[in-house]
């Protein structure tokens, strides 16, 4: 077996820091997509409860000490931080750990930066901490999770990591230049 070097999706690209915003890479740990079979959503939720998680409502996340369960689309959630157990007969499971680049955008200007790329109402009263959305980031499909008042986690396909970092960096620098 060849000795392979483990590299994160945004290796050498981050962090990027501008006045009011900083972009770093998050390491969410294992990522498993969970798509319950027809009629098995309640049973899936019970199985996830064993890990302190549950089935998220539309546009929400379930956050537990051990991990998170993010709504990721119609009938799909991403469990991250741990590998869910006991779901084999209840849901379609896919290991997506290496499929996503996860960026953390923080700071007083974080929402303003994201607003340049993402056509969502990002005001905290509408997109509050704990909320999750699938939305375009530029032309990329993304998952957004607002983890705090001034903190967002941005998930994009791993193949888009370089483009996502570039687009966010341009938005951060342009916003900083306005002073």
């Amino acid at each position: 077996m060849a000795s392979l070097i483990d590299k994160s999706p945004c290796e050498d690209l981050l962090p990027i820091i501008t006045p009011g915003a900083q972009l770093t890479e998050a390491q969410p740990g294992p990522v498993t997509s969970v798509a319950p079979f027809k009629g098995r959503q309640a049973a899936t939720a019970r199985a996830l409860a064993a890990d302190g998680l549950g089935w998220p409502e539309v546009g929400r996340a379930v956050v537990a000490p051990a991990g998170r369960c993010l709504w990721a689309g119609r009938g799909v959630a991403f469990v991250t931080g741990l590998v869910p157990q006991g779901l084999e007969d209840l849901a379609a499971l896919t290991d997506q750990s290496d499929g996503w680049a996860v960026l953390r955008l923080e700071g007083a200007q974080a929402a303003a930066v994201l607003a340049r790329l993402c056509p969502l109402d990002l005001r905290a009263a509408v997109f509050a901490p704990g909320h999750v959305a699938r939305a375009p980031l530029g032309h990329m499909m993304a998952i957004l999770h607002r983890t705090g008042a001034e903190a967002f986690e941005i998930w994009v396909f791993r193949s888009m990591a370089g483009t996502a970092v570039h687009e966010l960096a341009v938005a951060m620098q342009a916003l900083a230049a306005r002073g």
């Binding site: 539309v58 546009g59 689309g73 119609r74 056509p119 939305a135 375009p136 499909m141």
Partner: protein, 92 residues
């Protein structure tokens, strides 16, 4: 044009992909006559007014939607998940 996804809320129509008429939900049964298949594949209304289409929320939640819209005013009259529409009896 804006489409209100039942899951994601009010979104720009560029997040969605158009598929075709909602007639595609009314697939004939296995023993259906050739005329039924001909109608299913080829015959479409071309209304000046309310029309029903299938759209896919590609940049969002990946749900298939039945969009009822007005071809004259471009107003979107209603949006429902295909699964919900079918659960309430066919593609109506």
């Amino acid at each position: 044009m804006r489409i209100t996804c039942p899951l994601c809320g009010d979104r720009d129509r560029r997040e969605f992909t158009y598929y075709g008429a909602a007639d595609y939900l009314n697939r004939p049964g296995m023993g259906a006559p050739a005329e039924a298949w001909d109608a299913y594949l080829h015959l479409r209304d071309n209304p000046a007014g309310a029309t029903r289409d299938l759209w896919y929320h590609e940049m969002g939640c990946a749900a298939w939607l039945v969009v009822n819209r007005d071809t004259v005013s471009h107003a979107v009259l209603s949006v429902r998940l295909v699964t919900d529409a079918q659960a309430e009896g066919g593609a109506a």
